[in-house]
């Protein structure tokens, strides 16, 4: 009896990485965060071997990864926090991108920056319009309705000449920049890292060939959304979402206006989706309905589920996995999709809670283990 208890005791006493970071004094934590942020900003310039994608522009890949991260954060509010299965999230992404396209190029000439708040608002309103009638029904119906929404948006885009039809919208203006200075990159071609003053990125020029500034912009947006996410989740709003997810009837009977909170989650999720779409439009300068296929909705959802729905760090990791690896292994052409599918299946089998399950699951596991030890101990005694 004593041996098992002792072993588990030791395991429990050794704090995991998370706890060790949490125990660090605040100034050190701040410094670590700043270093980490600097690393993220420098990532496309460091050209780190193996991490850097060999077959596609790494800056562009990092931007794509960032939009996935942003989308996953938004979808996590809907799916992870409030427990609403949304299969048409790409619809909001499209609404955001097309709002920018219409206002800045197709039917107007507003600068990109002005279009962004409008895109967020339009996506949010479309979320409310879709959610108001459908959030009263539960579970499966919502999944079907949202699935339909995603397709309806795409088909509307294809068939509406006003929206550019199948050709889409081009000449979307770029985000405004100021060209201040050049940032050198690192060259590894000799085997050792050398500062390469020949290949530089202009801070901050949103051009058509160098996508690194777009990635930087996306990083800033992600940071803002993360802060928003943390503040809102740790409040009455976050608790109401979770209670609704856990047991809608019980939540309602404990005074939670569940419909209102579900609609709120839906609207906020849609707004973040629209914001990602606006970023995407600003970077590509060109959008067409093919950029908003159903498959994208599935990938977005995969990012959330693979990462660990309900845990913001988990879904970020999930988004990176889902969007980065297919780019990294582009050399294997279509074969990579097969491997990717297999990997997802293996994940579903071996980590059904996701790569980084929410804290609640981890805590539960630990408590279960403790309970187990207690019972074992009793049986042995």
């Amino acid at each position: 009896m004593t041996t098992t208890t002792n072993v588990t005791q030791k395991k429990k006493d050794r704090p995991n990485l998370n706890e060790r970071i949490a125990d660090l004094p605040l100034p050190i934590k701040v410094v670590l965060w700043i270093l980490f942020a600097l690393f993220l900003f420098a990532l496309p310039l460091l050209n780190i071997p193996f991490i850097t994608t060999p077959d596609s522009d790494f800056g562009g890949v990092l931007f794509t990864v960032s939009t996935y991260v942003l989308v996953a954060l938004g979808l996590n509010i809907v799916v992870g926090y409030a427990g609403l299965l949304d299969l048409g999230y790409v619809g909001f992404y499209a609404v955001g991108a097309y709002t920018v396209g219409v206002l800045s190029s197709q039917h107007g000439s507003l600068p990109w920056l002005w279009c962004v708040p409008v895109a967020i608002a339009v996506a949010m309103v479309s979320g409310i319009l879709l959610g108001a009638p459908t959030l009263r029904v539960r579970g499966d119906y919502l999944a079907i309705v949202t699935l339909g929404f995603g397709e309806i948006v795409r088909l509307t885009l294809v068939n509406s000449q006003w929206l550019g039809g199948a050709q889409g919208i081009s000449n979307i203006p770029r985000p405004p920049g100021i060209e201040l200075f050049e940032v050198p990159s690192i060259d590894w071609s000799t085997g050792v890292p050398v500062v390469d003053l020949g290949t530089t990125t202009t801070f901050l020029k949103f051009g058509i060939s160098d996508f690194i500034p777009y990635y930087w912009l996306a990083l800033v947006v992600i940071a803002l959304v993360l802060v928003f996410d943390i503040l809102v989740k740790n409040s009455r709003v976050g608790r109401a979402w979770e209670a609704t997810r856990e047991d809608e009837d019980a939540a309602e009977l404990m005074g939670v206006p569940t419909f209102r909170f579900k609609l709120l989650a839906f609207a906020l999720g849609a707004a973040i989706g629209g914001l990602s779409g606006a970023l995407f439009a600003g970077k590509s300068g060109f959008i067409n309905p093919q950029s908003f296929e159903l498959l994208l909705s599935i990938l977005f959802l995969a990012a959330v589920v693979v990462g660990g729905q309900g845990n913001r760090w988990g879904v970020i990791l999930g988004a990176i996995v889902v969007s980065y690896f297919p780019e990294r292994f582009r050399e294997f052409a279509d074969f990579r999709v097969l491997v990717f599918g297999l990997a997802l299946m293996l994940l579903a089998i071996f980590r059904p809670q996701g790569l980084l399950p929410p804290r609640r699951t981890l805590r539960a596991k630990r408590a279960d283990a403790r309970q187990h030890v207690l019972e074992e101990g009793e049986a042995g005694a």
């Binding site: 709003v237 047991d247 009837d249 404990m254 005074g255 939670v256 709120l264 609640r360 408590a367 279960d368």
Partner: protein, 313 residues
């Protein structure tokens, strides 16, 4: 848009308990884990802005309420009332309509005919959460905690019933958010302490032993500062000693300023703790009166005859 249909009636006995709400450990808690309640902690209801009636006056009135589910008449012209400050027992054999009665009082079902009056006014077609805000709170016969939230968070959701922090207030951490969080946490911790659960504030609800889960349900309901606390078989699954303790707890709760409606089908237990008792059988009220009157009532004896003690407890 049609109103949502409840796929599973709230509080109705489930055929299989949901895995989430099933306690991870059987009722046999290790001896050192038995929780002692702290009756001295002040958990009096907070002012929630509803008129408080004087002690002994009518708080809630069920007036000739009938509820049909298709052919099943779950409640048949049931009338009774609850006075402020009392413990009213609602008893009856299984399937008598006790839980259904709670469901009508908390807005889960609309009566087919008849009205429920609260503080003199009909409840009408209010949403469930609105009724909770008016001061009626309940627990569930089959435990329905927020399984993946901590004990503290469960209680906080109840406290939040009277809070108004929204996205903007939370996002900018406005003073209202801080105030509500601070006061809410303080009240939630008091309630947990009262229930003897303060040491388990950060445990997930689903990892709590069975008895603690039952107590946590009561704490969560109390957190909404109800005028009327409805307990649906809170002692189900308890051993006799635990049951006695729970009845003491219910009396303490009443003494702290709550009115309690208690469903329990163990007759003997109810006798000791209630001021008045209403007896249901097959959806009808067959008796009402003091515990002594109920004990000698032939109709009640007949209803409970044939149901042996083991079955009834």
């Amino acid at each position: 848009m049609p109103e949502p249909t409840n796929p599973e009636p709230v509080g109705a006995e489930p055929t299989t308990p949901t895995p989430a709400s099933r306690p991870s450990t059987p009722a046999t808690t290790p001896v050192d884990e038995v929780t002692e309640i702290n009756p001295d902690v002040d958990i009096a209801p907070e002012d929630i802005g509803v008129p408080v009636v004087a002690e002994g006056e009518r708080l809630l009135e069920v007036d000739t309420v009938t509820l049909r589910f298709g052919g099943v008449v779950a409640l048949n012209e049931v009338s009774f009332h609850i006075n402020k400050g009392e413990i009213l027992g609602l008893i009856g054999p299984n399937g008598a309509g006790k839980t259904t009665c709670f469901n009508v009082m908390t807005g889960v079902y609309q009566p087919t005919s008849g009205v429920v009056r609260y503080l003199g006014k009909p409840l009408g077609k209010r949403h469930k959460f609105q009724i909770t805000k008016l001061g009626i709170a309940r627990t569930f016969q089959n435990i329905r905690l927020f399984a993946n939230m901590t004990a503290l968070e469960n209680v906080l959701v109840g406290v939040d019933a009277h809070h108004t922090t929204g996205v903007v207030t939370a996002m900018f951490r406005l003073p209202k958010h801080r105030r509500e969080e601070e006061q809410g946490r303080a009240r939630a911790m008091e309630l947990l302490e009262f229930m003897g659960l303060d040491g388990k504030a950060d445990e997930l609800a689903r990892n709590l032993p069975y008895g603690d889960q039952r107590r946590l349900e009561i704490a969560r309901a109390l957190a909404t500062s109800p005028q009327l606390l409805c307990l649906d078989e809170p002692a189900a699954g308890f051993n006799p000693a635990e049951k006695v303790k729970l009845m003491e707890l219910i009396r303490t709760i009443r003494d702290q300023g709550y009115t309690v409606l208690l469903i329990e089908h163990d007759m003997k237990l109810v006798m000791g703790v209630t001021d008045r008792i209403v007896v249901l059988e097959f959806g009808r009220k067959i008796a009402e009166g003091s515990p002594a009157e109920i004990r000698d009532n032939p109709a009640v004896i007949a209803a409970y005859l044939g149901v042996d003690e083991e079955d009834a407890s």
